[in-house]
Symmetry: C2
Subunit: 227 residues, 2 copies
């Protein structure tokens, strides 16, 4: 599904450039479940952004289903992101002036589905993350964990081929977190490729494969022994 070939990402800050990613080469098989771990600042969110076509590498190639992403047009990339990817960002990225329900409907609006159908699908997604009683709340009226769950519902509502989730249970208590992980298992069992950035070894243990980043490089890449 995905092939990264010597991907690099450099940021220039003043006179001290930051090499967030260096020579990252890896392949992701469709339908797999992958955990990305590593210390704070090691490049995990940056890698996820590149995988999701939200960010452009400064060097290397990204092939998606054999096609060179760097050569796609902006409309093609936008289409890809909206229709085929689902994102859970580390800071949730909810639109503050939209309710929880409206936030979750957003990917469906891009896919041009009819309002009644969009509303029903968004409501169903919010029910799956336990927030049926918070649909009309604005993000500022939701707890941290509730905002995170709205972001998760939004990532799932379009039934994407690939889910990229940055610490999807970071703001959740253990019980709620487990429900979300079961939800991701279900989605993965249905064929969706799931890539999760996590600091939690227990979460990584549930994925079939764990990639570890240190200082922008892949320092280990192991399939789980027992599954």
């Amino acid at each position: 599904l995905i092939r990264l070939d010597r991907i690099g990402k450099r940021y220039g800050v003043g006179d001290a450039p930051v090499e967030a990613l260096r020579e990252v080469s890896l392949e992701v098989v469709g339908g797999d479940s992958v955990a990305i771990m590593g210390p704070s600042g090691s490049g995990k969110s940056t890698l996820l952004g590149i995988l999701g076509c939200l960010d452009i590498p400064t060097s290397g190639n990204y092939l998606l289903l054999g096609e060179e992403v760097g050569r796609m047009s902006r409309p093609e990339l936008a289409e890809l992101r909206c229709r085929r990817f689902g994102f859970v960002f580390q800071n949730f990225n909810l639109l503050p002036r939209l309710t929880a329900l409206e936030n979750v409907e957003l990917p469906l609006a891009y896919a041009r589905q009819r309002p009644a159908l969009r509303r029903a699908k968004a409501a169903a997604a919010l029910a799956r993350v336990g927030l049926s009683d918070r649909m009309s709340h604005y993000p500022s009226q939701l707890s941290g964990g509730q905002q995170q769950r709205v972001a998760i519902a939004r990532a799932l509502v379009n039934e994407p081929d690939l889910i990229l989730a940055d610490e999807p249970t970071g703001a959740l208590d253990t019980v709620t977190g487990r429900e979300i992980l079961r939800l991701l298992d279900e989605v993965n069992a249905g064929g969706t490729t799931v890539v999760v950035v996590t600091h939690d070894r227990d979460i990584a243990a549930r994925m079939r494969r764990t990639i570890t980043l240190t200082d922008g490089r892949v320092t280990s890449d192991s399939r789980a022994q027992v599954r």
Copy 2:
């Protein structure tokens, strides 16, 4: 130090009011270390906001060092918050147009310290959280865990009497998280009262006392057995 007497907090959303806190009564002894746990949406951040005088209860009384907080004037409350409390918010709340160093200096500016001294103290606080090489970065140029650490440095820089931290290690890998917890231990050993909202039982185990909230009520309050 702190006494909450039947504190309630109600939000009105449309025609469905949310009782975020109900009849919460508890005392906090100066110098103690307290963990607040509970499911997503149980009222932890709301309780922290009331303890930190950032939010006003809809019922009940809050006594701080015997003084009724509800009767304090707005300038008195602002003074209290800036000089005597340190906050780590669940979403960090860094000012996007200030660098890491400038964000950490902010509480010192309120305390009207001289620029050279402020800069030195802020730099020292950032060094304690391992971010000496990120001082001129803006929040958007920092990883999630780095932003969280800037928020922690900002909470400590004024050497407050009370630290209120909402999931202070949520975005951190295990190693970095442990360094932050050691830092909080040090601060607590120096006499600062530390109140930490956390979903992590290992973190709660390090505090002398754990309060559990469920649906806005205190459902358990236990001192750790062994310390």
